[in-house]
């Protein structure tokens, strides 16, 4: 079996000190395999967002280890850590986090700008990714003038522009109606299937979670269940769709 993209072992994360100390994660082990789609589900306050932040190297664990492609993440510091995050990860957020007054293209090329890519190259790659997502005609529009679904597609374009290994999607369909949400889901799973981009989705939407290859449920800082989608469907009694066989 190949090295997992991300592996965390005995992960603890607590906030505060003394009597106000709050333990968000109480010993979590997760493996994210290359090319899979993984759903992290749980109620709000369960620790699922904390887990995603630790996986995305946005946060450092109180104890336990995080490995990226087999390399301990605590070896990465400062500039190197920023570079790895910039090149390896793409982010899709529920609230979009687009700069409203900037154009669609400017929003999309932000990661390239941060990476220090030249102006012409930025534009070329930005337009290429917008074309893939059928947004090329919106390139010069202001982000604020777009509909919700278009905004989320712009966000996905921004997550894709750096050609990332992993896309983290935090409630990607939370702010969208069912139809648009489904379109965005199709887009994300299409990228996962066709381009082999690993997808980590944080959600409390059962339907979205069931479309993933695998799901883990976080409750009170611990992993409750790790199962393939079929097993989950059986456990929750919900009608799930058949999923591809998962390499386990």
């Amino acid at each position: 079996m190949s090295t997992p993209v991300l592996r965390v072992e005995d992960l603890h994360r607590s906030y505060g000190r003394g009597p106000t100390r709050f333990e968000a994660l109480k010993g979590v082990d997760v493996e994210v395999r290359a090319g899979e789609s993984l759903a992290i589900v749980g109620k709000s306050g369960s620790g699922k967002s904390t887990l995603m932040h630790l996986l995305a190297l946005l946060d450092r664990p109180t104890s336990g280890s995080v490995e990226l492609n087999g390399v301990p993440a605590d070896r990465l510091r400062g500039r190197e850590l920023n570079r790895v995050r910039n090149e390896t990860f793409g982010f899709v957020f529920q609230q979009f986090f687009l700069t409203p007054s900037a154009t669609v293209l400017e929003n999309v090329i932000l990661p390239l700008k941060i990476a220090g890519v030249g102006r012409a190259e930025r534009k070329r790659r930005g337009m290429a990714v917008l074309e893939q997502l059928d947004l090329a005609d919106k390139a010069k529009n202001k982000a604020i003038d777009l509909s919700g679904g278009q905004k989320q597609r712009v966000v996905i374009a921004r997550a894709l522009v750096n050609d990332p290994q992993v896309i983290f999607a935090d409630e990607p369909t939370g702010n969208l109606d069912t139809t648009t949400g489904a379109a965005v889901e199709d887009l994300l799973f299409g990228l996962n299937r066709e381009r082999g981009i690993t997808l980590v989705v944080v959600t409390h939407d059962e339907e979205l979670a069931s479309r993933c290859d695998r799901r883990i449920t976080v409750r009170d800082g611990r992993i409750e269940a790790s199962a393939t989608a079929t097993a989950t469907t059986a456990a929750t009694g919900e009608p799930g769709r058949p999923t591809e066989e998962v390499a386990a």
Binding site: L81, N82, R85, N86, F91, F93, Q95, T99, G116
Partner: protein, 433 residues
């Protein structure tokens, strides 16, 4: 992020909330505008002083007198019947009432023997009681000391001719009408009488031809009658009539030297004279004191302008703190995407510096326009009798200094919000609602 992208993004961000940026820029503009005007004032006045010195054409002379007795600590000084009141160049020179040992003919020989002295002339001091024209009203007037090579700023007529054997005088423009002349042209060529009290208390009258009308100058030469050598001699003789002690002693002497030899040579000459017991003062020395006063005033004015800029600096702090607050999630996103804290700091401090640049550039440009307009207007009205005076003038170095100074203040102000932005935790920022 490349530095050029940091600057580009910062500039773009500046215009994101336009009203707020404009108000902040306005505050800086007021400070920069004031600083431009006050600095321009200093530049203009000092430039005029330099021009005046050049116009006098007396860079090659220095006034030499005996050093004042250093008796201040030894109680009252003994009366010396030979002591004279010393005076520098021009009647308004400071220290005019100081009594010192007179310069004698022997002293003139000593001074002439000092290395670097080209020639030495005694400075004949005359005090005139009145001036009148054709028996009209008598007016009090001071008579300036004549310095070879001196050039008056004339309203009409010519310079008094130093070589002429006939007594000539240039009278100040203010005296033309009171003396009964119809115009300046009428005055030029006519004869005026000077009343002098001699040593016995009797009244002596000396006549002279008016050859020129002088404009009021800054250092006083134009405010008094300027005689040529012949008139000075006649007045001096009239004044000394019946005197017993002071005929051949003078308050000071005029030494001609070569200013081309440079500061060091001039200073060496001064030192030599100092060793021989004389004090030497060049025109520049006297004007230098004047310039110090101007510089002092300008410094105080500049300080007020800088205070205005510091207040504007707090405006920048406020504006950018709001901006950081508003853009919390954007900062969080950029940090999540791998933007370093240093770059985030750079982004916001560049924005502050750019705001400072905008304010200072607009302030300096409008300050120069307004200063030039006001200076020109004043030159033809209030300072019409001080030709050549541009009250507010600008030189590129001081203008550039103002812009750089304002940008530096803006950068310092920007470090507070930029530091806050740089320290922001990406997770907290992304959660921020």
């Amino acid at each position: 992020m490349k530095p050029v992208d940091v600057v580009g993004s910062a500039v773009a961000n500046t215009f994101r909330s336009r009203t707020r940026t404009i108000l902040t820029v306005l505050a800086i503009f007021i400070g920069a505008f004031t600083l431009t005007i006050t600095t321009g004032l200093g530049t203009g006045i000092n430039r005029y002083i330099d021009q005046t010195v050049a116009e006098i054409g007396a860079e090659d002379v220095m006034t030499v007198a005996h050093q004042a007795d250093e008796t201040a600590d030894d109680g009252p000084r003994e009366y010396d019947p030979d002591a004279v009141a010393a005076s520098g160049i021009g009647p308004d020179a400071p220290g005019a009432a100081q009594t010192i040992d007179p310069i004698t003919d022997d002293d003139l020989v000593t001074i002439a023997g000092i290395d670097g002295v080209e020639s030495v002339e005694p400075l004949k001091q005359v005090s005139v009681d009145y001036v009148q024209h054709e028996g009209g009203t008598q007016y009090a007037i001071s008579v300036g000391s004549f310095i070879p090579g001196m050039e008056l700023v004339l309203a009409s007529g010519e310079q008094p001719d130093a070589e002429a054997s006939e007594p000539q005088v240039a009278i100040p423009v203010d005296f033309v009408e009171p003396l009964g002349f119809d115009s300046q042209a009428d005055a030029v060529g006519s004869v005026v009488e000077f009343g002098v009290t001699d040593a016995t208390g009797a009244e002596q009258v000396v006549t002279a031809e008016v050859v020129g009308i002088s404009e009021a100058g800054l250092i006083g030469t134009g405010n008094s009658a300027s005689p040529n050598t012949a008139l000075t001699d006649e007045l001096y003789t009239a004044q000394a009539t019946g005197a017993t002690g002071q005929t051949d002693v003078y308050g000071s002497a005029i030494v001609t030297f070569d200013p081309e030899l440079g500061e060091a040579a001039t200073q060496a000459l001064k030192d030599d004279l100092d060793e021989a017991g004389f004090t030497a003062t060049t025109v520049e020395d006297q004007i230098g004191a004047f310039k110090s006063v101007i510089d002092g005033i300008v410094l105080v004015l500049n300080a007020f302008a800088v205070i205005a800029l510091l207040a504007a600096g707090f405006g920048i702090v406020n504006t950018l703190l709001m901006s950081v607050q508003e853009r919390t999630r954007e900062i969080g996103l950029m940090k999540a995407m791998g933007m370093g804290s240093g770059k985030v700091f750079g982004l916001f401090s560049t924005e502050a510096t750019f705001i400072g640049f905008l304010g200072s550039a607009v302030g300096v440009v409008l300050g120069m326009a307004a200063g030039t307009a006001v200076g020109d207007a004043l030159a033809t009205t209030m300072f019409a009798d001080l030709p050549g005076l541009t009250l507010i003038a600008f030189d590129p170095v001081s203008v550039a200094t103002i812009i750089v100074l304002v940008m530096a203040i803006a950068f310092l102000a920007g470090t507070i919000p930029a530091g806050r932005a740089g320290r922001q935790d990406p997770i907290e920022s992304l959660r921020y609602e």
